[in-house]
């Protein structure tokens, strides 16, 4: 049984760094969503595609961050860490967490 809070601080700090390093991308995601919401029927599909592409790019960064660190842990610890990381992503960056598992 693992003590509570293991990996919490590591994952929290990783996500703080993600927010700082990817601030431009995060802004673009919100702009793309606004553009989609304001798009005409003719433009909506294209705007949605642009939004999804940006979300995918952010998710890719998060997956690299998560799986890279997990690779340095033994199997049991890696699984524990992934659960903590994914849970935090769902809370802090819900747009990117939907398919992280």
């Amino acid at each position: 049984m693992s003590p509570p809070g293991r990996f919490q601080e590591v994952a929290e700090r990783q996500l703080v760094l993600f927010r700082e390093d990817e601030a431009e991308l995060l802004g673009e995601v919100e702009e793309a969503l606004d553009a989609y919401n304001g798009a005409s029927r003719d433009e909506a599909e294209e705007r949605y595609g642009e939004f999804v592409d940006l979300v995918d790019a952010g998710r890719e960064v998060l997956l690299d961050m998560r799986d890279g660190f997990a690779a340095s842990l033994d199997e049991e610890a890696a699984e524990e860490y992934r659960l903590v990381f994914d849970d935090l992503v769902r809370k802090r960056f819900p747009r990117f967490g939907l398919e992280l598992d």
Binding site: S2, R6, F7, E9, V10, R13, Q14, V16, L17, M65, D67, G68, F69, A71, S72, L73, D74, A77, A78, E80, Y81
Partner: protein, 130 residues
């Protein structure tokens, strides 16, 4: 309270760190985590032999040293560094396992302490140095 935090932060800033782990992803993560807390990460090494060379060349104040390395294990590296007596760095061992899994090996190696990878932070390192 603020003064205490300021002193704490100042001590981070003045501390240089060498990170030793065979996983580049761990080294990269540890680097950004520690740098975000004011530590000066002056080098990285991927195995024990390289770590010993890097300590001789860079003179870090702290070595964050993974237990499991491809050549010498972390305990052996720590023991060799402890032979430097007062001129050697403070060695902090780390692993994805818990300290209890290693019995008395941490103390016997001469390392200053042990931080599980699950609890890696600048504060955790600092607490072992005070």
């Amino acid at each position: 309270m603020t003064e205490a935090l300021d002193r704490c932060h100042t001590s981070y800033v003045t501390m240089s760190v060498l990170i030793v782990d065979d996983h580049p992803s761990f080294r990269a993560t540890a680097r950004v985590l520690l740098e975000s807390e004011g530590f000066d990460v002056i080098g990285e090494a991927e195995d024990g032999s390289t770590a010993l060379e890097a300590v001789a060349a860079l003179h870090p104040q702290i070595v964050l040293l993974d237990v499991q390395l491809p050549d010498l294990d972390g305990f052996e590296v720590a023991a060799r560094l402890s032979e430097l007596n007062g001129s050697g760095p403070a060695v902090i061992l780390t692993s994805s396992r818990d300290r209890v899994d290693f019995g008395s090996l941490v103390e016997e190696s001469g390392a200053r302490g042990f931080v599980p990878k699950a609890e890696l932070s600048g504060a955790a390192l600092l607490s072992l140095l005070n």
